[in-house]
Amino acid sequence: MSYRTPARLAGLALAAGLLAACGGGDGGGGGDPLSDGGGETCQASSGDGVVIGSANFSENVLLAEIYAGALEAAGVTVEKKLNIGSRETLIPALKDGSIDLVPEYTGNLLTYLDEEADEAESDAVYEALGDAVPDGCQVLEQSPAEDKDALVVTKESADSQSLATIPDLQPVAGDLIAGGSSEFETRRAGLVGLKEVYDIEFGEFKTLDPGGPLSVEGLLKGDVDVVNLFTTNPVIETEGLVVLEDPESLFSAQNVVPLITEEKATDEVTEALNGVSAALDTEQLIALMKRVDVDKENPADVAAAWLTEAGLV
């Protein structure tokens, strides 16, 4: 009777083998995240169309959906790989041919590619970025829409400690807990620059995330007093947060810009994306973000609605 078991096992093994044979198939291209210091070049994806990637935060997904809609309207075949991760994953993905296009931000992309860079003003950043992007990649025209780094406090602490600008922090900083990403701690557009430019040293620093949910939760629940957020984040409006002014322009310009592999940047692709960049501005971006984050609309729907409104499709 137990003779049945070997036969059944054999059947199962066969079925599993067949399944594996069907499922497998796409081999690797040889990207190595351990050596993405800049030596490698960008490589276009193997197919005909453009593979669009995005970081795993909603604004970037929204921008990728807008790019995708605009490209489809221009007759370009598009494949979407959204919600991928942070820049640490996206840039290697551009280099190993996993994706061709990603919505980027000029200032942070520049400091990622060149740690020494200290340009802050919009055009200067964009110009420096043109030289810094890896071979095989290029940035198309930048949009006036911006999503800047900022130091943000709650309304209560702004009122009680009369904070409106970053210099206002100087006398009280020793008693405050600041929060931001682990890069914020080490880069110039962060703690280092705050000390250098504004002579501000916080009592404590907590490692959170780059302007994401941890930073928001940390500030709202009182774990930190000052936090690094991005200016299009709708919680600033919904929670009545206060963005501290940056009179010395410590935080560089962060214009939205498409980063694309050269091979895929054909005339029609370039034209469609430049159209998007020209039409989008910061106010619209904030309004769109509110629909995604606060009203919980789907990024794809919000993107399609905006493209129609802007007359791009």
Binding site: T207, E217, K221
Partner: protein, 255 residues
């Protein structure tokens, strides 16, 4: 530079071994998270395991809830509790305790259930109270299995406590998460290696505890002559791999 060289470079840099963000402090934090979570999971699971093991009542329900707890994705729970309660140790504790309960619960239950019926009858006919029977007869015999459960819970908790860093706490996960964000893969690999080393250290410690607290009569480490005389006593239960299908150890490690 290869990953291995970067790893060695990170570990041999003396600056990384001192200060409030140094390796010893991170190990201390990691141990703290692990011990607190393990203690909390034990406080919940052990009494329930004893009770249902001894009485046999509610076993089906408790074991199934315990097994369902294994199916809960730690990462999702962590995020959910952060959104509900904010940052801090609570989200990490909740996630780690959920991870620690199933192995402790099932192993305690299985250990007590595994005590031979004749042993229980003998204890009862000697006039032992239920309480004494549980604590003086059943528990000592079940101890190796209970410790096996604790061992596997510890292993999972140590490894998973890495995620504390994802929600802004410390511990060895700090090196893993910061390493990824700062593209310092030597730091990241060092974090992973240190976690693995810590887990192995904990495991050795449990081996030692097992030797010290398990009665020689149960563990089978008695001199041969005496064991021969006790031939009728229950066969020695070896602690590491209980064959009861209810306690498939080593248990899963869901992060």
């Amino acid at each position: 530079m290869t990953l291995f060289n970067e790893l060695v470079a990170f570990l041999s840099e003396s600056a990384n071994w001192s200060g409030s963000r140094g390796i010893p402090v991170r190990i201390g934090e990691h141990v703290l998270y692990t011990v607190v979570a393990l203690a909390a999971a034990f406080a919940v699971a052990f009494p329930i395991g004893l009770l249902i093991g001894h009485t046999g009542r509610g076993a089906f329900l408790a074991i199934n809830i315990g097994n369902a707890a294994r199916a809960v994705p730690t990462f999702g729970v962590l995020i959910l509790v952060v959104l509900l309660a904010g940052l801090g140790f609570l989200p990490v504790l909740v996630a780690l305790v959920i991870l620690g309960i199933p192995p402790i619960l099932t192993s305690t239950y299985a250990g007590i259930r595994g005590v031979e019926g004749s042993t229980v009858i003998a204890a009862r006919s000697m006039g032992m109270t239920e309480r004494n029977m549980l604590l003086k007869v059943e528990l000592p015999i079940a101890l190796p299995t209970v410790i096996a459960g604790l061992r596997s819970a510890t292993l999972q908790i140590v490894s998973t406590a890495t995620i504390a860093a994802y929600v802004a706490l410390g511990g060895l996960g700090r090196f893993v998460i910061d390493g990824q964000q700062q593209r310092d893969y030597g730091k990241m690999a060092a974090g992973a290696v240190l976690v693995a080393a810590l887990a192995i250290a904990f495991d050795l410690l449990w081996g030692l505890v097992d030797r010290v607290v398990v009665s020689p009569g149960v563990s089978g480490r008695l001199p041969r002559t005496r064991r021969a005389r006790d031939a009728d006593s229950p066969p020695p239960t070896t602690g590491t791999t209980p064959t009861d299908p209810l306690t498939p150890e080593p248990a899963g490690r869901p992060t």
